[in-house]
Amino acid sequence: MKLRDLAHSRTGDKGNTSNISVIAYRLEDYARLEAAVTVERVRRHLGALVQGEVVRYALPGLGALNFVLTRTLGGGVTRSLALDAHGKCLSSAILDLEIEASA
């Protein structure tokens, strides 16, 4: 199954840094997200889109993970050559991650 079946996501930008939240629809799925959506997994999935560091913050009380990706936005929205200069569509890329179907 896709991460999209378990979680929703929103991307924010500050300068050249992007943050992507991954939020469980049901709190009981949080442990699965925590195990499956690792820093390594996110880095591999996004590949060349991420030029800098990937840091993960865990918010178990909210059933959420927050990924912070530095040097990801082509210098930031004010100077990027990208069509999606904010990187707002990155949330949709994350939700396409394949997750093991069994808990």
Partner: protein
Amino acid sequence: MKRVRLGTGAGYSGDRIEPAVELAEAGDIRYLVFECLAERTIALAQQAKRRDPAAGFDPLLADRMAAVLPACRRNGITIITNMGAANPHAAGAAVAAVARSLGLGPLRIAIVTGDDVAEIIRARQDLIIEETGAPVASLGDSLVSANAYLGAEPIVRALKGGADVVITGRVADPSLFLAPLVHEFGWAADDWALMGKGTLVGHLMECAGQVSGGYFADPGYKDVPNLARLGFPIAEVAADGAALITKVAGSGGLITGATCREQLLYEVHDPARYLTPDVAADFSGVTITEAGPDQVRVDGGGGGARPGSLKVSLGYGDGYIGEGQISYAGPGALARARLARDIVAERLRIIGLPLREARFDLIGVDAIHGPELSAAAAEPYEVRLRVAGRTHARKDAERIGNEVEGLYTNGPAGGGGATKTAKEVIAVQSTLIPRDLVSPQVHMMEVRP
């Protein structure tokens, strides 16, 4: 326990106007806050002010004020906004003109200034740019603006002075909402827990519709009713900082735990250290509880001592971006778009264009997430080639679009809908400035009856 109701009238400069009117008329609110100043907007506004000393504030200010002032005056609602951008004084005069033309005096307008720190930055060329680690001096003559993020304090001062409308330039977004809470409840500026709770409310509210169902819908997964009539949020805040997020009954959109969780993490890095001029806010222990339809309780924000320095946005000229686009459709569209892309890449080499950076996208294929994630996708019916490049000179930027447009008569078959643009780039980087170098000021203007 005393409660105060705040509404958000706009979450960005171009936001819809009717939801603010709806809040002023039917929201039972005491404050209406318009957040209209993005990272780059203030640098562009500084440029506009340089060309015309009466310009440099939000272009929709007069329209927004004309729309909401009558109901705000009738219902005793105070307006707080950063629509002053680079020219809060001129913005204040524009609001006064609207009030006079509508016969809405008496009106007391407070102007908050002191965020423009360009002179201080020019004298402190040793300050380090956060993104590059180089000193401010490295920007040389390209620096066009420097604006410090002010906190809630000068807005609180304006409210104490009886302001009906508070107009600021660069103020941290959540501070626009924290200020009326500090004023109403008499919170101490060094009560970090309360500053954190008020900042949490501000952070949830600052993007307007993004907490009430906007930017959330994903059909079949997250359905949101009536987005064409999206209601903007109301925060009903108690004196202990606990808040209920809601909206006008019957408006479109949706407020649930999920919409609030998405907005809570929006543009946040370490949730335990969300830095503003007012506090190092801690969102790590926040609780979000659904209390009824479109009613969500938010509590558990915390905080520690505010940072000793203020963030400054440095706007600087960064050359030009030229862009061209052209579409291909039907059988073989992708192959023709790829051929077109390769032709333009070769043309840019042949004409010897001094490009600092270039990018070739196939819109519908790889423009957003690049070639890796899209590799396995099926071939689309139509594709749009986009070529974008960074140059030092405008005339070089213009040649990029010209080379794409030239595909009409020189490129593959069936190209259509070519467009081209060239724009000057005002980029933004940031630095930190010692707090004591910045002195926010409040000026009062009166509109007589």
